[in-house]
């Protein structure tokens, strides 16, 4: 059975800026990314939340990068990713 939560992960500079690496959003129904943002805005102080709005931040749902409108179902994992670099 799906858990009635959406797990939200923050990495690297975002984890530091927000002061946490993950939060759980309880929901029985699917929500939009905009609705998720509204919830995050409610949970974090304004200057911390603002770091999630940077144009360079990408969003992955269940470890796949998203483009455009997405439905976030209960049980899914959403990750906010600052610019990556390996090698």
């Amino acid at each position: 059975m799906r858990q009635p939560v959406i797990e939200v992960l923050f990495f690297a500079s975002l984890r530091e800026a927000l002061g946490c690496d993950r939060i759980s959003i309880e929901t029985d129904t699917a929500i939009t990314l905009d609705q998720l943002h509204a919830e995050l805005k409610r949970r974090f102080p304004a200057e911390r939340y603002r770091t999630l709005l940077d144009n360079n931040i990408r969003v992955a749902v269940n470890q796949e990068l998203t483009t455009g409108v997405v439905r976030l179902n209960p049980g899914c994992e959403v990750a906010f990713l600052p610019p990556v670099t390996g090698g």
Partner: protein, 160 residues
């Protein structure tokens, strides 16, 4: 084609990796690249790096890079090892090894994988010096190096 990807904290032996890959992939050309943590950033001595990753997604991102290399070149083997966690200057950070029949493919594939690791692999790198710390982003040179490989078709489907 034999392929193997590891994301790990532990150091690795390039010699062992090379032997292992050669036992699994035949070919007349083996190209091995090893990346080392640099000792300096601009004029500052680097005291260390921290590499963060997203378990699962990081491996998938490397897998996708290896897929692309395998589509482009006739290869019999690719091995990628990428370290995470705390690393000191002089330590190995990454290994890419490609095996093919002839050198051209092995050289090109190795460079391709490294170029895309810089821009497409899901890692975050924080560099410490005696007086500061900063998150490193892939540079414009990194992006143009990776961009060189993109064909006109890739660019078309990449517009977002």
């Amino acid at each position: 084609m034999y392929r193997s990807i590891s994301v790990q904290q532990a150091d690795f032996s390039s010699a062992e990796e090379l032997d292992n890959l050669r036992n699994r992939a035949r070919g007349g050309a083996v190209c091995l690249f090893s990346g080392i943590v640099r000792e300096h950033f601009q004029d500052n001595a680097v005291t260390g790096l921290i590499l963060e990753h997203y378990p699962g997604m990081t491996e998938k991102s490397i897998d996708s890079i290896v897929d692309q290399a395998a589509e482009r070149w006739e290869l019999s083997g690719i091995r990628v090892v990428h370290r995470v966690g705390q690393l000191a200057p002089g330590e190995q950070i990454v290994l890419v090894c490609c095996v093919s029949e002839h050198r051209r493919e092995a050289f090109a594939a190795c460079q391709f994988v490294m170029d895309l690791l810089k821009t497409d692999a899901v890692f975050w790198k924080k560099e410490h010096t005696a007086s500061s710390e900063r998150w490193i982003e892939s540079s414009s040179q990194d992006h143009s190096a990776a961009g060189r490989w993109r064909t006109a078709d890739d660019v078309k489907s990449d517009v977002s």
